[in-house]
């Protein structure tokens, strides 16, 4: 293969990989340490959270989301719950599972993002935003304009 061809393929691969990072949250970890969570939340994490968000390709985005409020998580879970089972391949949340997922997300937000962990969380968010701004300046600008 010619060097110029190799460079073209490398750019294409990078472009494809880069498309997956749409938000600063996508650059953070894609897992939560739930070992100290109550058993029911550990089960929800393993049986509902991971399968659903892995399928949607949004695990990191959800783990590192700035959302903390019960109402905003409720909206997010309802969006997923009402996703209809059209092709037979998508994970379908039952009402019971949707409620369990919502409760988990609220509990997790309180534990990781507030109280004694609030400062560490804020620092983590800042680091993500700074990295994102450096590595994806165009996209950062788009998102900033959208928010404003």
């Amino acid at each position: 293969m010619l060097n110029s061809d190799k460079r073209i393929w490398k750019s294409v691969v990078c472009l494809i990989l880069s498309i997956k990072v749409l938000f600063p949250e996508d650059m953070g970890p894609a897992a939560i340490d739930v070992s100290n969570y109550p058993l029911k939340y550990q089960n929800t994490y393993r049986e509902i959270f991971l399968p659903v968000f892995n399928f949607l390709g949004e695990t990191a985005r959800t783990v590192n989301s700035p959302e903390t409020s019960s109402s905003s998580w409720k909206k997010e879970v309802e969006r997923i719950h009402r996703r209809p089972p059209c092709c037979g391949a998508c994970p379908v949340l039952s009402r019971k599972q949707a409620k369990e997922l919502w409760e988990f997300l609220v509990y997790d937000s309180v534990v990781r993002k507030t109280g004694p962990n609030a400062l560490a969380w804020a620092q983590h968010r800042e680091n993500l935003l700074e990295r994102f701004r450096r590595e994806y300046p165009q996209r950062y600008k788009e998102l900033k304009e959208k928010i404003q």
């Binding site: 309802e78 009402r82 209809p84 089972p85 059209c86 092709c87 037979g88 039952s94 009402r95 409620k99």
Partner: protein, 334 residues
């Protein structure tokens, strides 16, 4: 003398020729069912007087389940349900309908059955004020699958709040056998509150005029045919769905994902043999269609209005099919 009496008897018997015999028609009470159930096929080979009793209560019910509390709505109903009960009769029957409007209703109600020939489809002779009961008889002249709905003024509001259902008039020889029959009816709801708002939501006439529904649902409730409400059948069975569209405004593009309709009786007509191999059938507001398909592969099949964004408003349901796999028809290849 004996010969005289025998002659009189013979003459009397002969005299009855040409005199129409009045044979009392059989009378029966219709067996009514609520969606998605369907009453069993009519076994009779002769017409009968079929008695149907309907009531028109206004009912506080659930339009959609929520994560913390449901979205509730005040439905106007036939017999407490949306859609109203499935009525099954035979061509040639006389439908004797009594309509009782509870004292607690705030509105007058009546009924227009698209199966009825005569002013208002019956509406002109069935208007009942709160506390009143009215009765009428209608001859079922034509076979078909028909919508019925309240037509009390303003008819728009009465349909928009849930007063519709289906009546099947079987042809004299009945319908070909189906292993499973289901009753599914699409309808729209227009609310002042946004989609998904929990608690009691209220009817928005302006949105209805603009034809911008907040919810488009099967069988009167978002998710009625999902989870525990999903339809069930087995591989090898012939399924028939009586599909109605109460509207009030939108045309439905009815489709079952993963299936092709072996037969469609468009717009409720009964002309044999129907249309074959239809993927999606249009069902107008105020119309109905009968669809049939045989199940070959197990799995989950999704009923939709294929104006596809409507599935996010609730126009989606599920048919769960169990049975032997059919890898010669459907499988992955590794």
């Amino acid at each position: 003398m004996r010969r005289v009496w025998i002659s009189v008897a013979v003459l009397g018997w002969l005299g009855t020729w040409g005199v129409p015999r009045v044979v009392a028609e059989e009378t029966e009470v219709a067996r009514l069912t609520f969606a998605p159930q369907v009453p069993p096929p009519i076994a009779r080979k002769k017409p009968a007087v079929v008695k149907v009793h309907l009531e028109t209560p206004e009912v506080d019910g659930i339009l959609m389940e929520g994560l913390s509390e449901p979205t509730k709505y005040t439905f106007w109903t036939f017999n407490g349900h949306v859609p109203g009960p499935f009525i099954r009769v035979r061509q040639g029957d006389t439908l004797e309908l009594s309509l009782a409007n509870p004292k607690t209703s705030i509105m007058s109600h009546n009924i227009d059955l698209h199966a009825v020939t005569g002013p208002g489809g019956g509406a002109a002779v069935t208007l009942a004020k709160p506390g009143e009961t009215v009765k009428a008889r209608f001859k079922m002249l034509n076979s078909g699958l028909y919508v019925y709905h309240c037509a009390a003024p303003p008819v728009t509001d009465h349909i928009a709040n849930g007063m519709y259902g289906l009546i099947l008039v079987e042809p004299p020889d009945g319908l070909p056998k189906a292993d499973r029959e289901f009753y599914v009816m699409q309808g729209e709801f227009y609310t002042k509150e946004e989609f998904g708002k929990e608690g009691l939501v209220t009817y928005d006439r302006e949105k209805a005029l603009e034809e911008e529904p907040t919810y488009i649902v099967f069988n009167g409730k978002h998710g009625a045919l999902m989870e525990e409400g999903a339809l069930k059948a087995k591989v090898g069975e012939k399924v028939r769905i009586y599909f109605g569209n109460g509207g009030p405004n939108k045309i439905s593009s009815f489709h079952v994902i993963g299936e092709i309709f072996d037969r469609v009786y468009r717009e409720g007509g009964m002309a044999e043999p129907g249309d074959a191999n239809i993927q999606t059938t249009l069902v107008p507001a105020g119309g109905a269609a009968m669809v049939e398909f045989k199940l070959e592969v197990p799995g989950a099949y999704t009923l939709v209005d294929h104006a596809i964004f409507r599935i996010e408003k609730g126009a989606v349901g599920q048919l769960q099919v169990t049975g032997k796999e059919a890898p010669e028809i459907y499988r992955t290849v590794k």
